[in-house]
Symmetry: none
Subunit: 225 residues, 2 copies
DNA sequence: AACGCTGCTGAAGACCCGCTGAAGACCTGA
DNA sequence: TCAGGTCTTCAGCGGGTCTTCAGCAGCGTT
């Protein structure tokens, strides 16, 4: 379960990161509206915790821009208690839920889980490509009805390729999505994992769903190979 | 990855050109708003780095004119830190992102890459010319329903010609777009690749979509030949 | 008709890219 | 601490790809 916390108060942000990580979430932090927008666009999150008062670009704007871009990620807004900001307005700009500061941590977790469940039920949690099935929610993969055990990295790569089935995806992009990597990460790492992935989902079945696009990256065949 | 830097401070402009070139970008420089607008209109860039304070035509105007002309290139605005200019206004005139001066170079690079990826994903993915289909996202090409395997360079050339279907495109421009080439690159290189491209997409099908325009370059027939 | 210019193409070698096995680091749970 | 699996790094290999070159073929001009 991936969460993005957009919050400028560093202490609160870190407390949330700690607490939510302990609850089993994978947490990213953005300190301002713009970087929040960028991260939300570049990565795929289940939910976003979005403070309204942010430097630069405020929460309302982040929210409406995300919706305008067709991003239907779950958004929970944090509103200040002083009533300067209207909660109803938060919902109007496209937020799914809101919470007034100060809030109880357990309430936040409960709301997030409820939201993720709600959003999750409307998001495609399973991708079916011929007889290859990738289940993002269950983190399982089956080929021709046979369950294929994958390591975390392998699954993350397959999952990301499955979301863009039929498209060529660069190693650079895979590195950015699957790893929290800097600009100097090694594309060969991807090659190694792709190699072992093929040995599990393609070779034993005489297929070739995971195709190399020379000079461009990899592509997962939309028909499952 | 092609970048246009519109910046009047010569030292900063040259520093950016140096740094971004080292990062693998192909960089053009424009010293003022008007020439920036001209270059952006004449060439095809992935992203434009646009200073707000420019002699003649300021960044806002350049941005809104580009958008008015239907140009949806990625635009990252550089705003001065003194708050005289509103960052939000930058976004409202159609910019995709902004960065306050002074900024960190690595941050700029990261934002540019993220932006290019975002923009790229909204670009038209498939071009259909008669029974010739060029799919930029999947990096595939089919003629009369038959998949035609192409090398990276061949595909890059075909993709670029497909985006300007019906227009004559010079070898010089192809070299600039497909290669990160200097001014002393050999047009014959293009000829060789075009030759092998024809042998794959035209000759086997008795067609002639990829036409020579003597003295001007090549043209991809809008009806697929 | 001859010339020069432009574009085409086959061949060849350098080059680059991606694949893979192995080794060691790393993490995680017992 | 130890054992298991997982991840990353490294180096070598193999093969496809790119570029260069040279010769040839059109086309337009002199």
């Amino acid at each position: 379960m991936r969460v993005l916390v957009v919050e400028d108060e560093q202490r609160l942000a870190q407390a949330l990161q700690h607490g939510l990580t302990a609850e089993g979430f994978t947490v990213d932090i953005a300190p301002d509206g713009l970087s929040g927008l960028a991260k939300a666009t570049d990565h795929t999150y289940d939910v976003i915790v979005l403070d309204i008062m942010l430097p630069g670009l405020n929460g309302y704007r982040v929210c409406s821009r995300l919706r305008a871009a067709g991003n239907d990620v779950g958004i929970l807004m944090l509103t200040a208690k002083d009533g300067e900001w209207d909660e109803a307005e938060a919902l109007d700009t496209g937020a799914d839920d809101y919470l007034s500061k100060p809030f109880s941590f357990v309430v936040l977790v409960a709301r997030l889980k409820a939201l993720a469940r709600r959003i999750g039920s409307r998001a495609p949690r399973r991708t079916v490509l011929g007889d290859l099935v990738v289940d993002s929610a269950a983190r399982t993969c089956t080929r021709a009805g046979v369950a294929v055990p994958l390591t975390p990295r392998e699954f993350a790569i397959l999952d990301h390729l499955a979301r863009r089935a039929g498209e060529a995806v660069s190693k650079r992009e895979i590195l950015d999505e699957v790893w929290d990597s800097g600009p100097d990460s090694d594309p060969n790492t991807v090659e190694v994992h792709v190699s072992s992935l093929r040995r599990k989902i393609d070779t034993p079945f005489g297929r070739s769903a995971l195709q190399t696009v020379r000079g461009a990256g990899y592509r997962l065949a939309a028909d499952g190979g």
